[in-house]
Symmetry: C2
Subunit: 143 residues, 2 copies
């Protein structure tokens, strides 16, 4: 077992988390739960992590495939159950790849490799949620 | 479905994520994967979120139970599988409650309620990992 995070209460609902690599992440609730909105909502961070995890996979693979990517962003949508503990039941990941001469087959394959083999976050969350993906290729405005 | 996060590539491996509540979280890889360590590792954020999620539950319940908590922090350890996608297989949550006259039964019950009913992150990750918990009560040094 490895220590991954220590989170310390610093206010009504605000927690300062420090990760194993020394990075600090602030979390807080909204006024509806007595918080002051001074940080991200904790449960949102699972999808932040998912976005970064698959994003790093996909951009690495696209670079190996010599795709000229000039912009890359990922939108993640979630649907939660209505009953406690209100888990994500559906997660939709939309990859946006900007560049010149981007090969759709390369993008599709990169996403597939992340989803099925490399992305730890997708693998962890797929045990309790349906994870779907889509992608859009944007021509480089300067291309 | 609700948009939870948009993460945008800003460097070699650095992603800036903006959540639905407008909070920004930086993610990056280490030099081993071509990153510059300018943000948290994405997969660590799942346990950051877990810590904040259960932490907010537990402190709320302890306050309702009129416990005089003067300090509260949570350590989360993880064990990952050795093969891709290297998911967490074990997660250990250690709650530290500092205060005067803290009732162990109240702490135990608060943790149990979070684990079984309220904490979305524990519920999501328990589908693929064993989640265990423990707690320590620390006398208030000024109490």
């Amino acid at each position: 077992m490895q220590r991954i995070v220590t989170a310390r209460l610093q206010g009504s609902m605000r927690f300062e988390a420090t990760t194993r690599t020394g990075h600090v992440v602030m979390m807080d609730g909204g006024p509806d739960v007595g918080g002051e909105d001074a940080g991200a909502r904790p449960y949102d961070l699972l999808l932040v992590g998912l976005a970064g995890c698959t994003g790093m996979d996909v951009i690495s693979i696209l670079r190996k495939k010599r795709q000229r990517v000039t912009g890359f962003w990922i939108d993640v949508d979630g649907q939660r159950s209505s009953e406690h503990p209100k888990v994500y039941t559906q997660i939709a990941v939309h990859y946006h790849v900007q560049g010149t001469g981007i090969d759709p087959a390369a993008v599709e394959r990169a996403i597939q490799l992340s989803e099925t083999t490399y992305c730890s976050a997708i693998a962890s969350l797929r045990a309790s949620a349906t994870v779907s993906s889509a992608f859009t290729i944007h021509p480089d405005p300067e291309g």
